[in-house]
Amino acid sequence: MAPEGNGGNRDDLHRDAPLLRQVKRLVIIAGSILAAFVVLFVGLRLLRPYVFSGTVIQSPEPSFSFTLESMSGPVSLSDFGGKVVVLYFGYTFCPDVCPATLTDLARAMKLLGKKADDVQVIMVSVDPERDTADKLEEYVHAFDPDFIGLTGTPEQIAEVAARYGVYYAKHEGSDASGYLIDHTATVMVINEEGRLKLLESFGTTPEEMAADLAHLIN
């Protein structure tokens, strides 16, 4: 009885063993395929170049280096060599687009943390008649104390705007508002080599701008 029973068990083992081996083999094959996919996926992600939220500009020439007036004296673009410069054209009478953009830029600087030390945000006034250097500085500092506000003579502003492809034009508002200004609301980013590198259109989020700027900082 007992040997028979043992023999029966032995037969069962002999029958099960190939099946077990097959299952093991299948598990190993499936595992290998999965591992290969993971390696491929991670590898492709690492190899894939960063995609900027802003429009990438390939400028062979360095950006036009201007000198304009700040509250504490003349400021030139060349003063910030080695830093990423964020250039924005606006005016202090602007109630909507300019404060929205400056609030977003201030938020992007906060998101950058320590890296924000390698970025300088500059707002150039397209309303030199009403924006004095003092007013402009007070205005930009309300958003971020590291921001710089620059103004100049109408001729100087016109030249800088033209060199950066910035459009601005006065038009009549109401008696109360006085004249209003249509202007390019795009944020320009100049890289550490002094070349115009990115255009961030109005509505780009602080998170997207911070990621773009972080990528440009070496």
Partner: protein, 138 residues
């Protein structure tokens, strides 16, 4: 104690309404003292017939006007006053950044985060609705 706290919160959530119009999420950005102007944003929900926002006023502004932003293409934005804002029957209109706003011209007080700035909206049919704009960053 609890009840007294809940009632104003419910009122705040409900917004201010009149004749089918409900005004919610009224806000403005903190304004630097150097900025002569500011903007107010809000949402108007309409459960009644067609109406029209005709004007706005605030004791914190020299003048308040209804304005709209427009996109001239190539990244150029502009702003102009509008005569009124249509509020379609059963629909809603949001005044928000880059679109419509109440422009506060000649700001008379500092707007700091957490402030509540009184704003009066005048509708063609619903009449006057008084709201408070909360000052916050976005």
């Amino acid at each position: 104690m609890r009840k007294t706290a809940v009632v104003p919160i419910l009122l705040l959530l409900a917004g201010c309404s009149s004749r089918g119009l409900t005004v919610t999420d009224v806000w403005g950005r903190p304004s630097p003292s150097a900025a002569p102007n500011a903007a107010f944003y809000l949402t108007i929900e309409n459960n009644g017939g067609e109406d029209r926002l005709v004007s706005a006023d605030s004791p914190a502004c020299g003048t308040a006007e209804l304005h709209e932003m427009y996109d001239k293409g190539d990244g150029v934005m502009g702003m102009r006053p509008v005569e009124g804002i249509e509020i379609p029957a059963g629909g809603s209109v949001t005044l928000g950044p880059g679109g419509l706003h109440v422009m506060c011209i000649g700001r008379l007080a500092d707007f700091t985060p957490g402030d509540h700035v009184p704003l009066t909206l005048e509708f063609q049919d619903a009449g006057t609705i008084k709201v408070n704009a909360t000052i916050r960053e976005s």
